[in-house]
C-alpha cells in the first residue's frame, strides 16, 4: 500500500468520524491543530484505522502520531 493510499484511507475515516473534509487531509496536517480532531474522536480514528489497515496501534504510540504523516509512516511500517 502506498503512502497516498494510506492517506486516502485515513481521510475516509476522518470524514466518517469527525466530519473532516477529505480535501483537507494531507501528510503535513496536525490532527488536533489543523483538522480539529478532539481526543475522543482520535480514539475512534485509531480503532477504525486498526481495522481498515490490519495493524495494531497501542495507546502509548498514539501520542506520537501528531500529524497525518506520522500515522501514515506508522501504518506503513506495520502493514
Amino acid at each position: 500500500m502506498t503512502r497516498d493510499e494510506i492517506t486516502a484511507g485515513l481521510a475516509e475515516i476522518l470524514e466518517e468520524v469527525a466530519g473532516v473534509n477529505p480535501d483537507d487531509v494531507a501528510e503535513g496536517k496536525s490532527f488536533t491543530d489543523d483538522l480539529d480532531v478532539d481526543s475522543l474522536s482520535m480514539v475512534e480514528v485509531v480503532v477504525a484505522a486498526e481495522e481498515k489497515f490490519g495493524v495494531k496501534i497501542p495507546d502509548n504510540e498514539v501520542q506520537n502520531l501528531k500529524t497525518v504523516g506520522d500515522a501514515v509512516s506508522y501504518i506503513e511500517a506495520q502493514a
Binding site: V17, A18, G19, L40, S41, V43, E44
Partner: protein, 408 residues
C-alpha cells in the same frame, strides 16, 4: 426582599405531533394522534407493537457527525432548547452567562446507547466500545449539552423523577430564579427510549396498552376501554426568566409560572397512593404557592396516562384539591406518554391554552368511566378564557408535581 416573579419567555419542542411548538400545538388543537405501529423487526416478538415516534427525526435537524456523539435523548433536548432559546430572543441580549442556568431531566436517560454499546462489547470486544459512550448515557447528558448550547455558567441540573421529571425540572428552575441564583433558566425534559428492552419492561408491569391493531385509538384516558399508556418520545423546553429581567429587555411573555407544588408519597415504589394523598397535597401546595384561590384554576392539563388505576385517582385528587369546576384535558391521548418529557410538553400545552384561550381535546374518550364527574374536553378543542391553569405530573417512585401558570 420580595420574591421574584418568574415568567415564560421561550418555548421549544420536538414531539410525535410535530418538529416544533407551532406544528405540535396545531396538531393538538386538531385532535390528531401521533401514535403508530412499531414496524421494526424486533417489535414482532413484543406484546406491545405501537408507539408515538417523533414526527421529525433528529437526523433532519442536526448534522451527522454531531449526532454520532449524542444519545437520541440528548439530540432532541438540544433541538428543543435551540428553538426555545431563539424564541426567547436571548442570543444577543447581553445576558451574563453566570446568570444563566439549565434544568433539563430525563426519566430513563441514555438507555438505548447503553444497550447498543453492550451489543458492540459482546460482539466485538471492549476496544470497539465508543469513547462517546459515557457522555451519551450519563443521566445529566441532556442538561450538559443544553448548557453547552446556550453557554450556561450558573449551573446545569438534571432532575430525575421518572414521569414527573419534566415538571420537576421546571419547578427547580422556578426555585433557582426565586433564590436569586440566576435570571434565566432553560428548563424541561427529554425522553427517547423506543427500544425493545424498556418496552418489554413496562409491558411486563402490564402498564402499556396492547391495542396493537388500532394505534391511534390506543391512548384513551378516562375511557372505559383504556388498557395502559402508549410510549412516546420527544423533548419540551421552556425559557424561564425573572419577570423584571424580561420586562427590562422588552421580552414577549407567554405566561407567568406562578407556583409549584412537590410532594412524595412514601407509599409504594410504583403504585400511586390509593387515595391520591400525595397528588392532593402537591396540587394544594402549588395553588398556595401561586398565591391564588383554588377556584381560580379553571383548567387542568392532567397527567392521565390511560392506565386503569391512575386516571381515576387523579380525578379524585383534582376534586379534593380544587373542587368540581376545572375543565380538564389529557393531551397524552394524542402524544402518547413522553415519560420524563411529559411534564414539560404538557406545561407548554397549558401555557398555550392560556395564551390562545383554547383547550386541546382528549381524543378517544368515547365511553367515559362512570366516576368521571369533572368536565373533560372530549374529541374537539374548546374555547374559553383561562386566567390560570394547572399541570400535573406524577412518577414511579411516588413523585407528585403540580405547576400553576397564569396570564402574564
Amino acid at each position: 426582599m420580595a420574591r421574584s416573579d418568574v415568567v415564560v419567555t421561550g418555548l421549544g419542542a420536538t414531539t410525535p405531533l410535530g418538529g416544533d411548538v407551532a406544528s405540535t400545538w396545531d396538531a393538538m388543537l386538531a385532535g390528531r394522534s401521533g401514535v403508530g405501529p412499531l414496524t421494526q423487526e424486533w417489535a414482532a416478538q413484543l406484546p406491545v407493537r405501537i408507539a408515538a415516534h417523533l414526527a421529525v427525526d433528529p437526523s433532519e435537524v442536526l448534522d451527522r457527525v454531531k449526532l454520532r456523539r449524542l444519545d437520541r435523548s440528548e439530540a432532541i433536548a438540544i433541538i428543543a432548547a435551540r428553538q426555545a432559546w431563539a424564541d426567547a430572543g436571548l442570543a444577543d441580549s447581553g445576558l451574563d452567562p453566570e446568570r444563566l442556568a439549565v434544568s433539563v431531566g430525563s426519566g430513563i436517560g441514555g438507555a438505548t446507547t447503553l444497550l447498543a454499546q453492550d451489543d458492540i462489547l459482546e460482539a466485538s470486544g471492549p476496544r470497539r466500545v465508543s469513547p462517546h459512550t459515557v457522555p451519551m448515557l450519563m443521566p445529566n447528558g441532556p442538561a450538559a449539552w443544553v448548557g453547552l448550547e446556550v453557554g450556561a455558567k450558573a449551573g446545569v441540573h438534571a432532575v430525575a423523577s421518572a414521569c414527573a421529571t419534566g415538571a420537576e425540572a421546571i419547578s427547580l428552575g422556578l426555585d433557582i430564579i426565586r433564590s436569586g441564583r440566576a435570571d434565566v433558566v432553560v428548563a424541561g425534559g427529554t425522553e427517547a427510549v423506543i427500544h425493545p428492552l424498556p418496552i418489554a419492561g413496562f409491558a411486563s408491569m402490564r402498564a402499556m396498552s396492547t391495542r396493537n391493531d388500532e394505534p391511534e385509538r390506543a391512548s384513551r384516558p378516562w375511557d372505559t376501554g383504556r388498557d395502559g399508556f402508549v410510549l412516546g418520545e420527544g423533548a419540551g423546553v421552556l425559557v424561564l426568566e425573572r419577570a423584571e429581567h424580561a420586562a427590562a429587555r422588552g421580552a414577549r411573555v407567554y405566561a407567568r409560572l406562578a407556583g409549584a407544588g412537590i410532594t412524595s408519597d412514601a407509599y409504594d415504589i410504583v403504585q400511586p397512593h390509593a387515595e391520591g394523598e400525595g397528588a392532593i397535597r402537591a396540587i394544594t401546595k402549588a395553588v398556595a404557592d401561586a398565591g391564588i384561590a383554588k377556584t381560580d384554576i379553571v383548567h387542568v392539563n392532567a397527567h392521565a396516562t390511560s392506565t386503569p388505576v391512575g386516571d381515576m385517582l387523579e380525578i379524585g385528587a383534582l376534586r379534593a384539591a380544587l373542587g368540581d369546576h376545572p375543565v380538564i384535558t389529557a393531551t397524552k391521548s394524542m402524544t402518547g406518554h413522553l415519560l420524563g418529557a411529559a411534564g414539560a410538553l404538557e406545561s407548554i400545552a397549558t401555557i398555550l391554552a392560556i395564551r390562545d384561550s383554547v383547550i386541546p381535546p382528549t381524543i378517544n374518550l368515547d365511553d367515559p368511566e362512570a366516576g368521571l364527574d369533572l368536565d373533560v374536553v372530549a374529541h374537539k378543542a374548546r374555547h374559553m378564557e383561562i386566567p390560570a391553569a394547572l399541570n400535573n405530573a406524577f412518577g414511579f417512585g411516588g413523585h407528585n408535581v403540580a405547576l400553576v401558570f397564569t396570564r402574564p
